[in-house]
């Protein structure tokens, strides 16, 4: 299912500051699309808008051409599933009960789960390798296991779009790789359009097919990882000096951060104005989304939010 975000603006509350200033993004079926950007750049908010949980003040999100705003929560949940950044688990549901909740959008009021639903839940648990934990309480699982259970719950919804908010947060490196390989396989093999907010640039570079980089609520860059993860973009957007190399085993970028003084970075960023201006004249990215207005990106002209701290 093709997910298309067109020029979305969003602010929390009627009078709250705008968090997204016209973001566009397109994700195709069977691809893993990464969303990266510094804290506060609007990554998670963008994910909420794509999922239909937050309604944009202008712009639109469409799934195969259908506007998500026109769907009821139940209808949306039959198509889009999500795994939040850190779902606090309070009640000791068993793993099977938890995964079974994913069947809810397909069940009528008061209907109980059928053998088919049990089979789908079981399939989802096997897909993420948690079937052997079925009887365990979710409160007794490790973070890595819990994350796989929540992904299984999302899969039980039989989604065509899967949204993941920092799926590897708080996980050790072995679980990070495990989760990312699972997510990549879901996208490539099951054809689920997968959009993941990631904070680890190397995981994003290693596993994503496309990456959108946000900066202060605008798209700073988009495209394949090697186009987005460049030393210039990292300096502009994150304010860190980095060396971008190649992974030895794959033709994919690997990021080595050298120093991270934002002040230093910002000052250097103004030196990048030429580069931005140059980029502003460029054609659209391969995804069809435009980079943000360069004047804002580079700290010149009308600026807002974090950029003003300078």
């Amino acid at each position: 299912m093709r997910v298309e975000v067109r020029d979305v603006r969003f602010g929390y509350g009627a009078s709250g500051p705008e968090v997204l200033h016209g973001v566009s993004l397109a994700a195709e079926s069977g691809t893993l699309h990464g969303v990266i950007g510094p804290n506060g750049s609007g990554k998670s908010t963008l994910l909420r808008v794509i999922g239909g949980v937050a309604g944009p003040s202008s712009g639109s999100v469409s799934l195969d051409g259908q506007d998500i705003g026109g769907l009821s929560p139940r209808q949306a949940a039959q198509v889009v599933a999500a795994v939040g950044a850190a779902e606090a688990v309070i009640f000791p549901f068993s793993v099977e009960e938890t995964v079974m909740m994913g069947r809810s959008p397909h069940l009528r009021f008061l209907a109980s789960e059928t053998a088919l639903d049990v089979a789908k839940a079981r399939e989802a648990m096997e897909r993420t390798g948690v079937a052997h934990l079925a009887e365990r309480r979710i409160t007794s699982l490790s973070s890595g296991e819990r994350q796989r259970v929540l992904i299984a719950r999302a899969l039980a919804q039989e989604p065509r779009v899967l949204l993941l908010d920092e799926p590897t947060a708080h996980l050790d490196v072995n679980f990070q790789v495990e989760i990312m390989e699972l997510v990549q396989a879901l996208a490539h093999e099951s054809g689920i359009t997968t959009i993941a907010v990631l904070h680890d640039l190397n995981l994003a570079g290693r596993y994503c097919d496309r990456i959108t980089m946000l900066s202060s609520g605008q798209v700073a860059a988009c495209g394949v990882p090697s186009e987005v993860l460049t030393e210039e973009h990292l300096l502009d957007v994150y304010g860190v000096r980095a060396i971008v190399g190649r992974r030895p085993e794959l033709d994919r970028p690997a990021v080595f951060v050298i120093s991270g003084s934002p002040r230093h970075g910002r000052r250097r960023a103004s030196g990048g104005r030429d580069e931005c201006a140059e980029r502003a004249g460029h054609e659209e990215c391969s995804d069809g989304c435009r980079p943000g207005k360069p004047d804002r990106l580079c700290g010149g002209g009308v600026s807002s939010g974090v950029d003003d701290i300078e």
Binding site: G13, P73, R74, G84, I90, F91, T98
Partner: protein, 371 residues
């Protein structure tokens, strides 16, 4: 699944416990009515099958007591007074106890799931303080002003109406305070409930200072009691508790989603804002109906859901009805204890619920920690 089979056994045991407690409550007390007689009187009043059931029961009792055929040795006047005591004094009190216990516990389980907060209870959103204010105003205005309309009826018939209105108005006020742009953040709602509750309690305290000789009545009402309740109280409370608990139970799956967090629930297809409104409305009405007929009985709505969760797990589809069942049993048992513990005086039932419930809860907590 093994868990569901174990749960079925536990639910059966709970139903049996409820019947046993009802029989005990109907026979225990100063009047000294034998259990078998109390049982027969109650059974004979069950519609349609009652008469047959009572006859069947009697034949069993004969067999059991070794009494041959012929009339049982019961004096007719004893039977009549026993019937009046059981049917007009004890039974309404028992039924009201079942309703109040069930309603408070079901609401407590619902609110704990909705607010994802183990400290939530039916009183957290201001219904209790509002009912207290309404009841105080009712008691005082009757004593002071002697309103013509009120003085015609007995206090026990109009105070519930004052309390009910007070509870509903207070919850509506809390709701209005915490709703912004059609959204009601749960934390804001809880905070508003606590703050409005404090304010309303201050008003109640103020009224109590000015109450004068009516003060004991207000205090007794606040302590909560099922004493001297009639079928009128039952009729007032039953529709809210029965319908409300049924709907809350029907929403069990939605509660499970909501218990995962609002955003997760929304991604699984739950219209969270609408769900919150429905649950708060139902919970408030149940609480208002329970509190207005029997005063502030604490503990049941807070702890019974926890005990139920330990027994059958967190699935709200069974947690809410089992909480209701447990609350009903607990309430009637506590109320009967309150009658028999220092006869002929009655201890306020709220005192018993806390005194008996807290140690039991800690026992279960320790048991589970060790298990």
């Amino acid at each position: 699944m093994p868990r569901s089979r174990a749960n079925r056994t536990r639910i059966t045991l709970l139903v049996a416990a409820m019947l046993a407690v009802v029989i005990w409550a109907a026979s225990a007390g100063t009047a000294g009515i034998p259990t078998s007689l109390a049982l027969r009187i109650i059974v004979s009043r069950i519609p349609v099958v009652g008469r047959a059931l009572a006859a069947w029961l009697e034949s069993w009792l004969r067999l059991w007591s070794g009494h041959g055929p012929g009339p049982m040795p019961i004096d007719q006047s004893v039977l009549e007074s026993a019937e009046i005591i059981v049917l007009e004094v004890r039974l309404p009190r028992i039924v009201l106890g079942l309703l109040v216990g069930a309603g408070l516990a079901a609401t407590g389980a619902s609110f704990q799931g909705l607010f994802r907060n183990p400290l939530a209870d039916p009183y957290i959103i201001g219904a209790s303080s509002g009912a207290a204010l309404g009841a105080s105003i009712g008691i005082l205005s009757a004593g002071r002003v002697g309103l013509a309309a009120l003085s015609l009826s007995s206090p026990s018939s109009y105070i519930p109406i004052f309390a009910f209105i007070g509870a509903v108005i207070t919850v509506l006020f809390v709701y209005a305070l915490s709703t912004v742009d059609g959204h009601m953040p749960t934390d804001t709602f809880l905070l508003a409930g606590v703050v409005v509750g404090s304010f309303v309690w201050a008003l109640v305290s103020f009224l109590m200072v000015t109450a004068g000789e009516d003060l004991p009545k207000v205090v007794m009402w606040l302590m909560g009691s099922l004493s001297a309740k009639s079928w009128a109280h039952v009729r007032m409370t039953a529709p809210y508790v029965l319908a409300g608990t049924a709907v809350l139970t029907a929403l069990g799956r939605d509660f499970n989603l909501a218990a995962c967090g609002e955003e997760s629930a929304r991604y699984m297809g739950l219209d969270v804002e609408r769900f919150k409104k429905v649950v708060i409305a139902l919970g408030s009405l149940i609480t208002a109906a329970a509190v207005s007929s029997s005063g502030l009985i604490g503990f049941v709505g807070l702890v019974v859901p926890h005990i139920a969760r330990m027994m059958i797990g967190p699935d709200h589809r069974s947690l809410i009805p089992v909480s209701a069942l447990g609350g009903a049993v607990f309430m009637v048992a506590a109320d009967t204890l309150s009658r028999v513990i220092i006869p002929p005086r009655e201890v306020p039932v709220g005192v018993i619920t806390a005194m008996a419930g807290a140690p039991f809860f800690f026992y279960l907590l320790r048991l589970r920690k060790r298990g």
